[in-house]
């Protein structure tokens, strides 16, 4: 019950926020020169104006801004995200096609960054100011400073073109026609490079945060108490120090879920993954307003959901925090 109440309250807070985002985006896109039909004509390479007018009518792009906004919001209430001019399909259908890839990429990149970042961060904190710490800090700084598209391209050049160990892009090997377990394995292999590319910068952040918060926690009184009662160093580290150091990391996790959607655009382009990021980019170029609003709507749902889970995780890690809001 309590969880349900928390969920409802969260949603109530998020709804106005979502409305403002959608409204802002709708109006902002009105400022961009040209509309979806102009984009379509551009893609066709020719046209005449009568045809453009016919298409505008067919896709319901006539009428004023206010009318179209009202129609859009009314349809949204019925969970109808509208029809995409550029894709010639309902927006929801296209988004649901693309969502799994982005989710897979995000989840695997976040898990890798979180897990590896935690381990390496603890390692650095244990050997603070000695050579392992210096080495780790240096590497992490390099990862943090390197643009992800460059890492991606270099990864392709080394592991796909030169060594031929990993595929250069795509989500699975289409010509092999795998099914079942082989397909899962094939997809996993295809995801290695993109996941690493997307994860490295977040990995760097987690290492820094883990290291800093571990160092801070290790100076606190309860660690001295734990040591005084004769606990082994490992137990002190994992059960007492890390558990407390985890809190800021989990907070960052929630915040980064949103940022990662942005980073996915680059990674999806470099590795030609059919995900939401590339779809959003295309939607802007195609002036596909319905599609863009749909993506923003879905992304905000995603971020709200992740942050909700983060709140629940807080309560699990630290019982002092009640799940009451």
């Amino acid at each position: 019950m309590r969880i349900l109440r928390l969920a409802l309250r969260r949603l109530a807070v998020s709804l106005p926020c979502m409305l403002i985002i959608l409204l802002g985006l709708f109006l902002l896109l009105q400022l961009a020169p040209g509309d979806a039909i102009d984009a379509l004509m551009g893609q066709m390479g020719s046209s005449d104006t009568a045809l453009a007018e016919t298409l505008r009518q067919q896709y319901g792009l006539g009428g004023g801004v206010a009318t179209r906004l009202a129609v859009y919001l009314f349809n949204l209430l019925r969970l109808d995200l509208g029809f995409s001019v550029a894709y010639n399909q309902p927006v929801l259908t296209v988004i649901l096609q693309r969502l799994p890839v982005t989710l897979l990429l995000m989840v695997s990149a976040l898990s890798f960054a979180f897990a590896a970042g935690m381990v390496v961060g603890v390692l650095a904190a244990r050997r603070v100011n000695r050579w392992p710490d210096t080495l780790i800090s240096m590497l992490v700084l390099i990862f943090y400073a390197t643009p992800s598209f460059w890492i991606g391209l270099m990864g392709i050049l080394i592991f796909a073109v030169k060594l031929n160990w990993l595929p250069s892009g795509g989500i699975s090997d289409l010509s092999a026609g795998f099914t079942g377990l082989r397909l899962v394995l094939d997809t996993a292999v295809h995801l290695i490079l993109p996941t690493m590319t997307l994860a490295l910068i977040y990995f760097a952040i987690y290492v820094r945060i883990t290291r800093a918060s571990m160092l801070e926690v290790m100076t606190l009184d309860f660690i001295r108490t734990a040591r005084a009662k004769g606990l082994k160093e490992g137990a002190v580290l994992v059960r007492h120090a890390l558990r407390n150091a985890l809190l800021p990391m989990v907070t960052i996790l929630g915040l980064q879920a949103g940022a990662m959607l942005g980073g996915a655009v680059v990674v999806e382009s470099v590795f030609t993954l059919p995900g939401l990021g590339r779809l959003a980019h295309e939607a802007v170029i195609q002036r596909d307003l319905n599609m863009l609003l749909g993506i923003v709507f879905m992304s905000s749902l995603l971020v709200i959901a992740i942050n909700f889970i983060v709140d629940l995780v807080y309560a699990r890690i630290d019982p002092r925090i009640e799940a009451n809001g």
Partner: protein, 534 residues
């Protein structure tokens, strides 16, 4: 052993049929025996939202659809129309009636027979009403009669030159099944994304932005063909990623110059690949520089000519295009059968002449050596933007200050084509085989505002309007060619738009692929005779 016997027999049968039809060069058959089987994976940059070429025509769409859906005629080795779904054609003496005999025994992928009713439906409901270029080409089409199941009679209100129709038909007269579309919302029909056609490959699956997968059609009307089991067309918009995919062998082909130029030059030296313009001759692109002649400076032909003289196109083609391109001579490219050598000599690089013309026009160098300043808008593509930068630097030398304003494609169309809010605009013009299809519309007056790729330059010349109008209804091929020579000459002298560079698209192909690029618009054809080494 047994397999190879079957292969040889099927190849002979297929070869014989095609020789009769005159569609494929026999030399490629003489050397090697095609192998049945295999998967061909190719790359394209375009992410398409519809797979119906009867309603949407572009070279990007044809790469996807031409394997499934066939045109009435296609282009042969020597640029001549060869039979596909139509086997013979004939024009009445007044040019207003054109009769197509259709191929018999052709089946749609769903098993229903292909008939003249399908052609009639496509012509009247799709080509004439919705298709870009088709609405213009067929604007005088009044009816398509179907006296029997394999005859379609096109009736036009004005004379239609047979050559123009046939050349245009290769790209604009694709036939989709009437029984799938009739009585539905044509734009939203599900077959637009899961086509049913008559071609050598059948639709398997399409994931927009990802791939199109096609399976062999065992009932294709050429016995024994196609040779490939599967064709996979992968959408890779990022040029560097496409090059990596080709090199790591996850794709075997890339078209339409969609790799980085430096990679094209590098792959050309690699033994594992064939790189070149062969098989793309029908895809000639002209880089254009349009002048808004409504503006005071640009209304003076001397200023327009001076700008043309100030551009060292030869240098640009060598250094920036790495040799894949050359200075154009007028609006009709040298690859065209309508090209008349010497009719439109173009403007060789000559800075002195450019300066003299500008002085003569009354625009002396002022403070800082600047004569006047104006905006240049490039349409969105790396190639066009690179050319814009070159123009900017070139014109600086003759005292014209250029401010480049960059928009994405819809923004460009809104500024340049709809609002005419530009001074200089640079873009590309795809030459479509016959100047009447996509070239003259850049020069004739009376085109409504907002029509992309047309005369947005505010330029009007009675002479050119007359020639264009007469050539469009002239039935004698020799006279038509002479008229277009005259057209090219006027266009060259007056230059409302400078057709600066002609480029033929470049393909990069793994050498394991055979019988590819053997017709002038090969990427957009059926690939029925293409095969791949084991």
């Amino acid at each position: 052993m047994r397999k190879s016997l079957i292969d040889r027999r099927s190849f002979t049968l297929g070869g014989a049929t095609l020789v009769l039809a005159g569609a494929v060069p026999q030399t490629s058959f003489a050397q090697e025996t095609p192998r049945r089987g295999g998967v061909l994976t190719v790359q394209t940059y375009a992410d398409l939202r519809t797979l119906n070429p009867a309603m949407r025509a572009s070279f990007a769409i044809h790469v996807f659809t031409s394997k499934m859906i066939e045109p009435l005629v296609d282009l042969g080795v020597n640029n001549e129309p060869v039979p596909k779904l139509a086997t013979a054609w004939e024009s009445s003496p007044d040019g207003k009636t054109i009769t197509f005999k259709l191929r018999e025994g052709v089946q749609w992928h769903d098993g229903k027979p292909f008939t003249s009713a399908d052609v009639q439906f496509c012509a009247m409901e799709m080509w004439k009403k919705f298709q870009n270029y088709g609405t213009l080409l067929h604007r005088h089409l009044t009816a398509v009669d179907t006296p029997d199941a394999h005859t379609a009679v096109f009736r036009y209100a004005e004379p239609m030159p047979l050559g123009l129709l046939l050349r245009a038909a290769c790209e604009l007269c694709y036939v989709v099944p009437k029984h799938v579309y009739e009585g539905t919302d044509l734009l939203k029909n599900t077959a637009n994304l899961a086509p049913i056609g008559t071609g050598p490959f059948k639709f398997n699956s399409y994931a927009p932005g990802e791939h199109l997968t096609l399976d062999r059609n065992p009932n294709y009307w050429v016995p024994g063909q196609p040779y490939l089991d599967k064709v996979i067309i992968r959408v890779i918009p990022d040029a560097a990623a496409a090059a990596a995919a080709l090199e790591s062998k996850s794709i075997q082909m890339s078209f339409f110059s969609s790799l980085p130029r430096t990679d094209i030059a590098r792959l050309a030296k690699d033994r594992a690949f064939r790189v070149g313009t062969k098989g793309n001759e029908a895809y000639t692109i002209l880089n254009t520089l349009g002048f808004n002649t409504r503006k005071k400076e640009l209304s003076d032909v001397r200023v327009r000519q001076a700008i043309a003289y100030a551009l060292d196109i030869d240098f640009y083609a060598d250094e920036f295009l790495l040799g894949y391109g050359k200075r154009a001579q007028g609006p009709i490219p040298s690859t065209s059968s309508f090209f008349v050598p010497g009719a439109a000599p173009g403007y060789p690089f000559d800075l002195k002449k450019a300066e003299a013309l500008l002085d003569e026009a009354g625009y002396k160098r002022g403070a800082g050596g600047v004569r006047f300043a104006m905006r240049l808008m490039p349409n969105s593509s790396d190639d066009i933007r690179m050319f814009a930068t070159f123009i900017q630097q070139s014109l600086q030398k003759v005292g014209i200050k250029i401010d480049i304003q960059t928009y994405d494609s819809p923004g460009y169309i809104a500024h340049v084509n709809r609002d005419w809010d530009f001074e200089l605009a640079t873009d590309t013009n795809l030459y479509r085989g016959d100047p009447g299809v996509g070239t003259t519309i850049w020069y004739q007056s009376g085109v409504p505002a907002g029509t992309p790729w047309s005369n947005q330059f505010g330029w009007k010349s009675d002479r050119i309007d007359t020639v264009i109008g007469e050539a469009l209804v002239e039935l004698d091929p020799a006279k038509r060619k002479a008229m277009y020579g005259e057209f090219a000459k006027i266009a060259n002298d007056e230059i409302p738009v400078l057709m600066a560079i002609e480029q033929v698209f470049v393909s990069a192909v793994a050498k394991t692929v055979r019988n590819d690029h053997n017709t002038p618009r090969w990427p957009g054809t059926s690939w029925a005779d293409t095969w791949i080494e084991a």
